[in-house]
């Protein structure tokens, strides 16, 4: 097990290095001189020169990369060019927010998507299956940001039921936290629910055709037991793996939703940073999401490993 994780990590390292290269060079290609943005409206030449000097903006790009990566390796993610806050601190501030959002969205997605997928697989070809599929496809087809805007209009502006934006830590005010998060989590959750539903359905369809399900029926087991115990237990493997991967995507995928609901998470941080050319933040956050994503991939693999007796007993 440990050696498996170690091997998996060994593969992750070149990936992370490549991510760092992508991230760094990509945003160095971004047009616009960050010094100009940072110098303020007056753009005092002395200040400009100083900023360029301070952030190594006038040095060759490879040198800049070297500065950045070596600082990064020492745990120094730099400071935000815009707010002077350490990037690590920003990340520490935002990560729990995004994780909370992702967890809630995942939860919503799972309680909708998995049962719907099971039912539609069991009732394949019936109206229920058809309806579930259409709803799922609709969930996938609605642009997230539009759904968000519409919900804000309806639920917050017209009905006044939920706050339109904002964030509260669940440890400070759980009720308020839930209130502010439920809509964005729902918006994110719908698309995920659709994805989960479709995967659950196809996994279940495959498994319900499997010989061992027929064996279970041949034992006279109740259909409920056949479906929920024998079939679903095996469908769980791809579903859990997929969920871990989706969770990894969520960490980075909430970009527009956070923007619309003004949720101070990773997505908002990174979009704002791109637009204000806050290099250190872009680099730090993308690295962080990429590592998070890779980590979730790893967790998906480990879960696959743990849930699959074939893998487990192979050791």
């Amino acid at each position: 097990m440990l050696s498996f994780i170690a091997r998996r990590l060994a593969i992750a390292i070149p990936t992370i290095v490549l991510v760092s290269v992508f991230v760094f060079f990509l945003q160095k290609l971004l047009p616009g001189d960050p010094a100009l943005v940072l110098a303020g409206e007056e753009r005092d030449p002395e200040t400009l020169a100083f900023i360029r000097e301070k952030y190594h903006l006038n040095e060759p790009i490879l040198t800049q990369y070297f500065y950045w990566i070596s600082a990064m390796l020492q745990g120094d993610f730099g400071i935000s060019l815009r707010t002077n806050q350490p990037v690590l601190e920003l990340i520490a501030d935002k990560l729990p927010v995004t994780i909370q959002l992702a967890v809630m969205a995942m939860f919503i997605a799972m309680i909708i998507g998995i049962p719907a997928g099971i039912v539609s697989a069991v009732r394949k070809g019936t109206a229920v299956d058809y309806a579930a599929n259409i709803i799922a496809l609709s969930g996938l087809s609605i642009p997230n940001f539009w759904l968000g805007i519409m919900l804000i209009m309806l639920v917050s502006v017209n009905l006044g039921w939920l706050p339109a934006s904002g964030y509260e830590s669940p440890f400070v005010d759980p009720v308020r936290s839930l209130e502010t998060m439920i809509m964005p989590a729902f918006v994110l959750g719908t698309a995920l629910a659709a994805t989960l539903m479709r995967h659950t359905r196809s996994a279940m369809l495959g498994i319900l055709r499997a010989d061992y399900v027929r064996t279970a029926r041949a034992k006279g087991l109740r259909e409920r037991v056949v479906v929920l115990k024998h079939a679903f237990r095996n469908a769980l493997l791809p579903i859990v793996t997929l969920s871990a991967l989706l969770f990894g995507e969520l960490l980075a995928g909430a970009v527009l939703t956070e923007q619309i609901f003004t949720i101070p998470g990773f997505g908002k941080l990174i979009v704002d940073a791109v637009f204000t050319r806050d290099y250190a933040v872009v680099q730090g956050v993308v690295m962080c999401t990429a590592v998070g994503f890779i980590l979730m991939n790893l967790i998906a693999d480990v879960l696959y490993f743990l849930l699959n007796p074939r893998m487990r007993t192979a050791l």
Partner: protein, 293 residues
Amino acid sequence: MSVAGDIPAAGSKEQPRSGNRAWNKLKANKSAFVGFLLVVFFISIAALAPLLPIADPTATSWGAIRNAPSAAHWLGTDELGRDILSRMIWGAQASLLAGVVSVLIAVSVGVPFGLISGYFGGWIDQIISRATDALLATPFLILAIALAAFLGPSLTNAMIAIGLSAMPIFIRLTRGEVLAVKTEDYVEGAHAIGLPTPIILVRYILPNVFAPILVQATLTIATAIIAEASLSFLGLGQQPPAPSWGSMLNVAKNFMTQAPWMAMWPGIAIFLVVLGFNLLGDGLRDALDPRET
């Protein structure tokens, strides 16, 4: 002499070709057909936009700003008094073009890499795979935003940005499919008759990984349309005064209370066309799946 014993008795009745068969299956699949109709509908209005008897999508009218839907303007007018219906119709061009072109870019760059990576394996596979992992680990929209910002806001650049961001999906998909197809007997058979590698790649591997790529491409068009809308929504896509659904939404969100219809129509249109591509993609998946008969 062993004679053709097992020729079908009613040999005169020609069986349909594989392409026809897929098409027939697609037609038989109601939801896929609905998707097909939706896609055809939007493609035709986009293509026919110049011929339709509609207002100039950029003609402003200071006297008719943000008018609610009426007989004169079926879908209302926007913040500059332009007819939303005609902007919707012309905007379909941008959305569809963005969806299709960006996927073409993704496919034409991603598939060759995937082919090479999957077929040859070894260090080249390692390099391509790690780079693909790295690209996949970078959030799609962030990648697209950064690329779009780098290239400068325009529809073309948004398409390139989305295309390049969607590329790793195709690398990975193609690679996986190639790995599966590579071990098929008929590929071994191609080796057995002594075919050179390029021919094996082009005649044996590529056609047999084509179906899943086509399905994925159709589904990715849906994603790309949303991505274009998202980029336009952030101001990085289609540039004014030319219309696109995403940029219409971008403006509309400022007038949510005063002119909700401005946000309704583009949202619904995006939803429908994306739904169309998703339905079609699903249908294609079933139709092209040799197992489902």
